[in-house]
């Protein structure tokens, strides 16, 4: 119940950011859209599915993700129809399927998805900082460049977030103990 409430809260927060999203692509793409995905993840937190649903659900989530990565989709999301599609699809077609499929994904596939996310954030950073035209008609070129740099900062932050536990071990494991770590599966 707590997770559902948190999910609804994230959803409400995202909807409340409507005007901020129209004003800044950083708030739109890196605050509002992730909040909608988070809402879906939290709403699906206590749900469980069978293992053979994992791949279709992951493909659904990746397809939704790819769609909303396109600059054209970001523009469309500011129209009434696009906004409704965004508010429904990001939680239901990305957040929930991702949450449901994630426990069934092997560690190598999870690592691959994370590494790919870092590479793609780098590519988006390249594109948004170097595009010779306005990629999104709704935003200024200067705002577009801010978004590009924000993608790069996010990539660096996520790289640290994901790499530090692997490099130094889980904090509960103690500092490089010799007995290994039950939490990490040793």
């Amino acid at each position: 119940m707590r997770m559902i409430c948190l999910g609804l809260l994230a959803m409400a927060e995202a909807v409340a950011l409507r005007e901020a999203a129209a004003a800044s692509p950083v708030q739109h793409v890196l605050v509002q859209m992730p909040l909608l995905v988070l809402a879906g993840v939290l709403l699906g937190w206590n749900l469980r599915v069978r293992r053979d649903w994992a791949v279709p659900l992951l493909l659904t989530a990746l397809t939704a993700f790819l769609f909303w990565m396109l600059p054209r989709s970001v523009d469309w999301a500011l129209t009434p129809a696009g906004e409704a599609a965004k508010n429904l699809s990001l939680p239901l077609l990305l957040g929930v399927p991702l949450r449901l499929s994630w426990p069934w994904l092997g560690p190598v596939l999870r690592g691959f998805l994370k590494a790919n996310a870092l590479s793609m954030l780098g590519v988006l950073g390249f594109l948004y900082t170097h595009a010779p035209v306005r990629i999104c008609n709704s935003y200024l070129v200067s705002a577009q460049q801010e978004l590009g740099f924000a993608f790069l900062y996010l990539a660096a932050a996520l790289a640290c977030l994901w790499a530090i536990p692997v490099l130094f071990g889980h904090p509960k494991c103690g500092s490089f103990g010799t007995a290994g770590c039950s939490r990490c599966g040793v």
């Binding site: 560690p107 790919n116 170097h130 490089f176």
Partner: protein, 486 residues
């Protein structure tokens, strides 16, 4: 003659993890090494005007030779590290097969891009050259080349993810696997062996290189498809050289695990991790990622401090290698009364060649020298020393050990001949490159002036010896495949 069991190290060599997959990979590596060397021989003979070669075909061969040698060095290094990593970790065979399949898919795409599409923009795919062919190839060929790299990169990423997670599971953290307990003087009753320290370091720096390489590959692909999307050329060059430099270095750092794991069988002295060894590998981890700036010393728009760091790290990066691996090899071999067979001879040669190769690298890493030497044959002289007398010799040494059998016997006549021919050919070949560089003969030129032909022709003769030696090693490996490893 002695038997491997006399020098047997408890806990080592007991398992033969996924030996079939590794042997297949080494057959493929040996065959591609030989083919790429033939390409190199053709290019040297064409430069020496002993054969006629269309300039467009020369650059296609140059591209295939560069991409093929770097890729195969990495493939063979990865197979070696997987094999010896498997002695200490439980690795999933399916990941290795997926890695090999993606690698072969990449090879097909790259060969198609070069020999069907006509791509000849060199293995470095330096932005914006792939999109500016002047009509020599279509954008589709360049895109296929980059997709081939992407497939290989994905394969390597899977490989490192599997290796990294198994190291993490076994040791609790990559820091412990890097020997931080040894460095900090903490008690560790199960310290990581040298192969694991190397594997942890390579997993970290090559994963970072691959992730950044994938970003610049994808951005370059977008530029090919939508030319209006310009990538910042200097940033792209930095990313490409970071990726390329780290990747080719990783191939040697992976292959050196063969030295750590095999030589103790001959010397009878176990090769253990200690504080100095761990410090050296942690230094390698940093240096290998900071040294690539020495490729950009002629880019005057680079921030000066980066170029200074590039020069300084070029000096320092040789120290961990020479202080630890080369010096330790010398100490292990000295006075051990070891039996010299083909495997041990090639492995010791590889450490010597790797160390010697760092000298021309450090010289070229000096800004004042680099201004004059970087676009000359000096640079191929340096990296051919690293590869022919370093990584490739490690790979051939590993192959010889894989089919050695249980008994360590002195080299027979064919082994001695193969070793002598390969050593003479490789040493002569790289020396000619270095002399040509010192004489300011430019690299990457399809057509040479009359005054340079003597260099090219002597180099061609030495490259014939290299190809002969390689054929002996590869055919010997195939003929003895039925035998088990030492």
């Amino acid at each position: 003659m002695s038997t491997a069991s006399e020098n047997y190290i408890p806990g080592h060599a007991a398992a033969a993890p996924q030996a079939g997959a590794v042997k297949l990979t080494m057959i493929l590596s040996g065959a591609v090494f030989a083919l790429m060397m033939v390409f190199g021989l053709i290019m040297r003979a064409a430069q020496g005007q002993w054969i006629e070669l269309d300039a467009a075909l020369f650059y296609q061969l140059l591209t295939a030779h560069g991409a093929g040698m770097v890729g195969t060095a990495a493939l063979s290094g990865a197979a070696i590290m997987w094999y010896f990593g498997g002695r200490h970790l439980v690795l999933t065979g399916g990941i290795f097969w997926a890695f090999l399949g993606l690698f072969l898919l990449g090879v097909v795409l790259i060969l198609g891009a070069i020999f069907i599409g006509g791509y000849g923009g060199a293995w470095t795919f330096l932005f914006p050259l792939p999109a500016l062919s002047g009509g020599a190839w279509e954008a589709g060929a360049a895109a296929a080349f980059m997709l081939g790299y992407t497939a290989i990169g994905v394969g390597f990423l899977l490989y490192y993810l599997e290796l990294g997670r198994r190291i993490h599971t076994r040791y609790g953290s990559l820091a412990r696997a890097l020997g931080w307990n040894l460095i900090l003087g903490r008690e560790d009753n199960d310290p990581p062996p040298p192969a694991i320290v190397a594997a942890a370091a390579v997993t970290i720096f090559n994963s970072i290189g691959i992730i950044l390489g994938a970003a610049v590959l994808a951005a370059s692909l977008v530029h090919l498809l939508v030319p209006g999307f310009e990538v910042d050329a200097l940033l792209a060059k930095n990313l490409i050289y970071f990726f390329g430099h780290v990747f080719i270095n990783a191939s040697i750092y992976m292959a050196v695990t063969a030295v750590y794991e095999i030589l103790p069988e001959y010397t009878g002295k176990p090769w253990k991790s200690n504080r100095l060894f761990a410090i050296a590998w942690n230094a390698v981890l940093i240096f290998v990622m900071a040294v690539y700036w020495h490729h950009l010393l002629q880019d005057v728009v680079m921030p000066p401090w980066m170029l200074v760091v590039g020069q300084l790290v070029s000096y320092f990066s040789g120290i961990p290698l020479i202080a630890v691996t080369a010096f330790s090899t010398f100490l292990y071999v000295r006075g051990s009364n070891m039996t010299w067979d083909l495997a041990s001879a090639l492995l010791v040669l590889s450490v010597a060649g790797w160390s010697v190769g760092s000298i021309p690298a450090s010289i070229d890493g000096m800004i004042s020298v680099n201004k004059v030497m970087h676009n000359t044959m000096w640079v191929p002289g340096h990296f051919h020393t690293y590869l022919l007398l370093g990584e490739v010799a490690m790979a051939f040494g590993f192959m010889a050990w894989l089919v050695r059998g249980k008994t360590i016997a002195r080299m027979n006549g064919l082994d001695r001949a193969g070793f002598a021919v390969y050593l003479a050919g490789a040493a002569g070949f790289v020396t000619v490159f270095l002399f040509s560089g010192a004489a300011s003969i430019p690299r990457r030129w399809a057509v040479h002036y009359e005054e340079w032909l003597t260099h090219d022709r002597i180099g061609t003769l030495f490259s014939v010896l290299v190809v002969l030696g390689t054929l002996i090693f590869v055919l010997r490996f195939v003929a003895r495949l039925g035998r088990s490893e030492g």
